[in-house]
């Protein structure tokens, strides 16, 4: 009996879970912290990113002008969002749910934290807790950096990670690294995740057809996969590793969507010839009126002048 009641209770609760009023972030993600302290610079950059990526749904923080959707996006300045921990906000922005898109491949880790920094600027009671290990736990006391280079012959981008401390510089070995290329609408992972070798180097194969800008340049970003160990070091570098891409305007050639001067030839021909043919015949028919008139005029004159005409012309006209 108790079992049955439990099942019924569970079934009754199920819809409320399915509706998803509570967005539960996994335990291990909740406590995640930014690796850098929030300041005016991060807030400013965060605001810029927010306006591009978040504003269309969430509106201006503090103004409650978010759009009406189900579930509601909500105003980031309100209790509803501010009660989340930094880690929870970070997780929700990166993973997304339902109509809220995932920004993992749009924004870098650092950029998401900057957005969090901007959101937190609307909370007066907020005191930031910064991740204790700004430098790596694997290389205590050292500053970790990365260097990107492109080997054109081998079509490889190499990422070299090193840890610099008072005692000198050593390669960072055994660290997972991802290489990301900046595209129109976010970041695209290039090749697979690699681990740095004994020289601290990870090699990424670049597909031959990877489009770059007009000069073949691509903006790359390298990131450690394990931030807890190596810190949130990332490195943005522009390398001449892509194929030269000269963008062609969508209105450059003749197309259905173009102006009338750039209409497809077949449309101009079909329309033009069709109209010309029909109206040509219409004018041909109109000229018949002139002919009818001429014949009538001639006939009338002949009837009026003909001496052999016995009947008056009026009768001829019925």
């Amino acid at each position: 009996m108790r079992y049955r009641a439990g099942v019924i209770l569970c079934l009754m609760l199920l819809p409320s879970f399915a509706k998803g009023q509570d967005w539960v972030v996994p335990e291990e993600r909740r406590g995640r912290l930014s690796t850098f302290p929030f300041n005016d610079d991060t807030r400013k950059e965060g605001e810029r990113l927010y306006m591009i990526n978040c504003h269309s749904c969430h509106g201006d923080p503090g103004k409650n002008n978010y759009i009406v959707l189900q579930p509601s996006p909500g105003d980031p300045a309100t209790e509803k969002i501010q009660k989340n921990s930094d880690g929870e906000i970070f997780h929700k922005v990166s993973v997304g749910r339902g109509q809220m898109p995932s920004f993992r491949s749009v924004l870098t880790t650092e950029e998401i934290w900057k957005v969090v920094s901007y959101i937190r600027s609307f909370n007066r009671d907020y005191v930031q807790k910064v991740m204790q290990v700004i430098t790596s736990s694997a290389y205590p006391g050292a500053v970790i950096s990365m260097k990107l280079a492109y080997d054109e012959a081998a079509k490889l981008v190499s990422v070299m990670a090193s840890a610099t401390s008072e005692t000198g510089t050593v390669p960072v070995t055994g660290a997972g690294v991802r290489l990301l290329a900046r595209r129109y609408f976010g970041l695209m992972q290039v090749d697979e995740e690699k681990t740095t070798d004994n020289n601290g180097t990870a090699l990424f194969a670049i597909p031959e057809s990877l489009p770059g800008d007009t000069a073949g340049n691509i903006s790359f970003s390298a990131q450690f996969t394990d931030e807890q160990v190596f810190g949130s070091v990332s490195k943005d570098t522009i390398l001449n590793a892509g194929a030269v891409t000269i963008p062609v305007s969508l209105t450059a050639k003749r197309a259905m969507w173009n102006t009338v001067r750039k209409a497809p030839v077949w449309v101009i021909l079909a329309y033009g010839l069709g109209v010309l043919a029909v109206w040509g015949f219409i004018f041909l028919v109109m000229f018949r009126l002139r002919d009818i008139f001429t014949v009538g005029t001639e006939l009338r004159e002949r009837l009026q002048t003909s001496p052999g005409n016995q009947e008056p012309p009026k009768n001829q006209q019925i």
């Binding site: 959707l69 969507w257 329309y271 219409i282 028919v285 009818i292 009538g296 001829q316």
Partner: protein, 447 residues
């Protein structure tokens, strides 16, 4: 003078009796003035509504962001559809060789002219800024079905006008000497418009060539006019419009409404103009057969139009069909399908129902059903935009035509009636010379 037609005494007698029957209605009498007075008063009242729309903008209509094509465009499609009767009666049936369409072909052309002419004006009433109409011609894109539509409606109107006027030239010549007691301007107009017609064989040959060209030319034009009108809808990916059979679907529907309109006009002229001899019960019986044929074809297209998306039931189609079958539009939808199509088809299968009066009543149902059918094609499809939009005002979602919109629509119908009345009152509605030829042809056969 062998080259002059209708020259023998028997032929002249025939023309005389036909002309006296048919021309007795060509006069400006008190009934005509009263009727025109009524129509113009109604038009003035309705145009006052249009002035309000012109001053305050389209906000005075029920048109909003979702349903931006409402009653006006539905009415436009209905007008274009009904105008297609001219092509069906004079051209298709005429070219096949049916002689019985001769007395009604001019009535069909008058209806075609009136509806095609006003269809263009209806489009202007749907414009918030009608002063920008010249932009269609100045900046029109040859890729746009809207430009095609403007082109074909204009062309069809001109062709209908010519197809009404050309076969009437001999009649004008016959009539111009028989218009005693009519206003001077009318006699003068007949004199000019008869283009010195002497009933000479050369003139008949020239006229025959011209009419044959027009009869053939109007068929592709008429198909184009309504196919292009259907493309205004079918070239969009919107649920309910995104259909490959919209062209033939619209054309078959046009034949239904056009035939019904001609039958109503036939009945009116038969009774009011006392033309029972020419618009006889046999002609009604045959028009009844035409109506049932085109209605069955249209029923088939309806079946196809709803069954195919109903079988696949894509999300959008499911919402759309549910709205039509059981939802907000169910009453209108089933009313149209049953009262305007299925029941008329069943009734018209019986000979007793193809007599003039029952045909008139059935045609009224078919014609009114046709108008609402256009409404149900145009409006419900717009209520569900492809992009999910939430939190919009309710009047965006639910389209309800306002009084002003209705008045402007009534104005267009009044305008059609005015054009039909003027053309049918100032010119003979039944072709005199063709009927005379018809009768002498019969004489020859019986001899």
């Amino acid at each position: 003078m062998d080259e002059i037609r209708f020259n023998t005494p028997t032929e002249k007698g025939k023309i005389d009796s036909l002309a006296s029957d048919i021309l007795k209605n060509v006069r400006i009498n008190s009934g005509f003035l009263l009727w025109m007075g009524f129509l113009f008063t109604l038009l003035a009242a309705c145009l006052a509504a249009y002035v309000i729309q012109l001053r305050n903008g389209l906000g005075v209509t029920g048109l909003r962001d979702f349903t931006s094509w409402g009653m006006y465009i539905a009415n436009f499609v209905f007008f274009v559809a009904t105008s297609l009767c001219g092509m069906l009666i004079s051209s298709v049936l005429g070219l096949i060789g049916y002689k019985w369409v001769k007395p009604i072909s001019r009535i069909a052309e008058i209806i075609a002219i009136a509806f095609a002419a006003v269809a263009g004006l209806v489009i202007i009433s749907d414009m918030g800024r009608p002063d920008r109409l010249p932009y269609v011609f100045l900046f029109g894109r040859v890729q746009s079905p809207i430009l095609w539509d403007v082109t074909v409606v204009t062309t069809y109107f001109v062709l209908s006008l010519l197809l009404w006027f050309f076969p009437m030239i001999p009649d004008l010549a016959i009539a111009k000497d028989r218009l005693e007691g009519r206003p001077k301007f009318l006699v003068k107009a007949y004199e000019i418009l008869s283009f010195r017609w002497m009933h000479h064989e050369v003139q008949y040959r020239l006229l025959g060539q011209a009419v044959r060209i027009l009869l053939i030319l109007i068929i592709p034009t008429a198909f184009a006019i309504h196919t292009v009108t259907s493309w205004l809808f079918a070239v969009t990916p919107r649920t309910g419009w995104d259909s490959t059979i919209f062209g033939p679907y619209f054309i078959s529907g046009a034949f239904v409404s056009g035939t019904a309109a001609v039958i109503i006009a036939m009945y009116f002229f038969r009774v009011n103009y006392r033309l029972e001899k020419y618009l006889n019960a046999q002609t009604f019986e045959r028009m009844g057969r035409v109506l049932v044929l085109v209605a069955i074809v249209y029923f088939y297209f309806n079946l196809n139009e709803f069954l195919v998306p109903g079988y696949k039931l894509k999300t959008g189609d499911a919402i759309h069909l549910r709205e039509l079958f059981t939802g907000h539009y169910a009453l209108m939808f089933w009313g149209i399908q049953l009262l305007g199509l299925v029941i008329p088809i069943i009734l018209l299968l019986f000979r007793q129902m193809r007599r003039p009066l029952p045909m008139l009543l059935i045609s009224f149902f078919v014609l009114i059903g046709s108008w609402f059918k256009r409404y149900i094609i145009v409006v419900p499809a717009q209520a569900h935009p492809n992009l999910p939009i939430q939190g919009v005002p309710v009047e965006w979602v639910v389209y309800r035509p306002t009084l002003i919109e209705t008045a402007v629509t009534v104005a267009s119908i009044v305008l059609v009636l005015i054009i039909i009345t003027i053309l049918a009152k100032l010119f003979p509605v039944v072709p005199i010379w063709e009927m005379a030829e018809e009768e002498s042809g019969k004489d020859k056969i019986t001899q």
